[in-house]
């Protein structure tokens, strides 16, 4: 156990040292990838552990983005105040909508979260203080390294939270909800409170990622703040890596970001096709994600893929 923590600390230190040696293009790619990994990790809390697949976490991302942007651009507050404001907006929203929408299950829950994001985007488009369709411009900064370290800090904090959660009573309750919600309720898990807490935690991490991204890019508009493809990416990354595991979503996100970046620089239009193909192949051949595949492959070898393909056949 101690060895694992030591390895984790070493990996963090190595990642933190990257900006010292890497070129600036890599710092930008790294910041983007680390933020995406944080989003995947946030999705993992409710989607992976509790089994409630949200397709609308970009709603919280947008709230974090706009909370930060409005505070900084309109009220001339420092970044920290803006971030806190965006994060509290998102958590408040998660608590408010959580109770009604978390009563829905499966596809109903997925589509309602998608709708939530679309509705918030429509509201922001009509708000004068948020700059309507045009968006807001934030104070300019040129500190790529700072944003890289901030993104890394967020990812480490999110992963540490999930690691603690996985061993806690709270995490066990979420897994129980995923496996059989009625049974969990009968065993005394306060299912509604657990689910709302998980959604709020996910909203908090997602909103902070949005805020960091807003200040880094120094520009926000409704299309990029409530970007639907973000939902897609975080879900695909988490599921590809291994939903319901501590490190799976992080590994999945960093790996997929890397491959898609290489593809984008060689064959520019291939990047979007890539995510589609990856998710189809991944679900067919390793439905429990990279993490499980890595473990099982060592034990059973290549037949593992064939077994997965046959397991769910009609």
């Amino acid at each position: 156990m101690t060895l694992r923590w030591l390895a984790a600390a070493l990996a963090c230190a190595a990642l933190a040292a990257v900006p010292l040696i890497a070129p600036s293009a890599f710092r930008q790619f790294g910041t983007e990838a680390l933020l995406l990994a944080s989003l995947a990790q946030a999705w993992n809390i409710l989607g992976g552990y509790a089994g409630y697949p949200s397709f609308g976490n970009s709603a919280f991302y947008g709230l974090g983005t706009y909370g930060t942007a409005v505070m900084m651009a309109r009220f001339h507050q420092p970044f920290a105040v803006g971030l806190a404001c965006g994060a509290s907006l998102a958590v408040a929203c998660a608590c408010a909508v959580g109770v009604p929408i978390l009563r829905l299950r499966g596809p109903y829950f997925a589509i309602v979260t998608l709708g939530l994001s679309a509705m918030l985007a429509a509201i922001v488009r009509n708000l004068a203080i948020a700059g309507r369709n045009i968006g807001l411009i934030l104070p300019l900064t040129r500190k790529d390294t700072l944003f890289y370290e901030l993104a890394l800090g967020l990812l480490v904090a999110a992963t540490a939270t999930v690691a603690l959660l996985a061993q806690s009573r709270f995490g066990a309750g979420l897994v129980a909800i995923r496996e059989n919600e009625e049974a969990a309720a009968v065993m005394g898990v306060a299912t509604t409170r657990y689910k709302v807490a998980a959604l709020s935690l996910a909203a908090l991490i997602t909103a902070i990622a949005g805020g960091i991204h807003a200040y880094w890019i120094t520009f926000v508009d409704p299309a990029s703040a409530f970007d639907g493809s973000l939902n897609v990416k975080m879900v695909i990354m988490a599921v590809f890596g291994g939903p319901g595991t501590v490190l799976g979503p992080v590994v999945g996100a960093l790996l997929l970001s890397g491959i898609s970046e290489v593809l984008a620089s060689t064959i520019s239009t291939m990047a979007s096709l890539f995510y589609g193909v990856v998710i189809v192949v991944a679900v067919l051949f390793m439905p429990k994600g990279l993490w499980d595949a890595g473990r099982e492959l060592r034990r059973r070898g290549l037949p593992y893929f064939g077994e997965n393909l046959r397991r769910y056949r009609l």
Binding site: G106, G115, A122, V232, R311, Y312, R313
Partner: protein
């Protein structure tokens, strides 16, 4: 008053088409328990098939519809038989993800093959309209509306009164029992998915007659079909058409009296309210 009637008529004409879009999705969902996120892409493919049959082969769009339906039936049959069939018993998230991935692939390939330009199927009789009282009824949308109703009615008859239709409904209700009576689920499920895809293809062709086609149109049509399928009840074709009409009218009224930027928010707002209000009923009937 005349303006109000005109808006409602426009809403009804669009709504019939919405209903047809949702018909295939509701059928697949109700029978196979797959929320098919590729549905919008299938609509898009149907639209382009009719477009190219008209532009390249000179086939009248309404005559090209059956051809497009046949093509999409084949595509749907193959998809279900060889891809979706192999994850039929896995958790719902997996089928969501796979159909979603297929949608991304289809959109990308469409963009490559058809380019991102907006296309409209524009037959010579496109501009003709009928004036009844003070209300103008454009001819092509009205014909598209009629075709949508006809297809929904056909599906209703086919599900209720043919041997295959009964086998489809039996598989939806109790697969084990249906198997004992000699239903081959692989064939029936592929047939059902193919029918859903064919209906999507027809909807796409008609959509191309009244609005613009582009490779990304599926993105907004999939959630819309989802909303309508729930509004109407999954495997009740006439209910789905009614759901489409309701959404079409609601959107037309929002666009005219509130603001057009709110149109998409309305369909989702409606969905959220409906689902939250009807949760207990949905869970009991699921």
């Amino acid at each position: 008053m005349a303006l109000f009637v005109q808006i409602v008529v426009n809403g009804v004409l669009v709504g019939g088409l919405y209903g047809l879009m949702a018909l295939g999705m509701g059928l697949v969902w109700g029978v196979l328990n797959i929320v098919n996120l590729t549905h919008g892409a299938l609509i898009m493919l149907g639209g382009y098939t009719v477009y190219y049959l008209y532009v390249r082969a000179g086939l009248d769009p309404f005559a090209a519809l059956p051809v497009a339906m046949l093509g999409l039936f084949g595509l749907g049959y193959v998809l279900q038989r060889f891809v979706l069939g192999s994850i039929a018993r896995s958790p719902l998230l997996n089928t969501l993800l796979v159909t979603f991935g297929l949608e991304v692939v289809a959109t990308y390939l469409a963009q490559l093959a058809f380019s991102a330009d907006l296309r409209t199927i524009n037959p010579p009789y496109a501009g003709q309209r009928l004036a009844i009282g003070g209300v103008v009824v454009p001819l092509v949308p009205a014909a598209a509306f009629g075709a949508a109703l006809l297809l929904a009615f056909g599906l209703w008859i086919a599900l209720g009164h043919t041997r295959t239709g009964r086998a489809i409904r039996a598989s939806a209700q109790n697969l084990g029992a249906a198997r004992l009576y000699g239903v081959n689920p692989r064939r029936i499920f592929a047939l059902t998915f193919g029918t859903g895809a064919a209906l999507a293809g027809a909807a796409g062709g008609l959509y191309g007659l009244v609005a613009q086609l582009n490779p990304y149109m599926g993105n907004s049509l999939t959630p819309k079909s989802f909303v309508i399928a729930i509004l109407g009840g999954l495997d009740r074709p006439l209910g789905v058409i009614a759901g489409g009409l309701a959404l079409g009218v609601a959107e037309a009224l929002t666009g005219a009296y509130l603001a057009s930027t709110y149109v998409d928010a309305i369909s989702f707002g409606l969905l959220v309210l409906l689902l939250v209000a009807r949760t207990s009923r949905l869970i009991r009937s699921a």
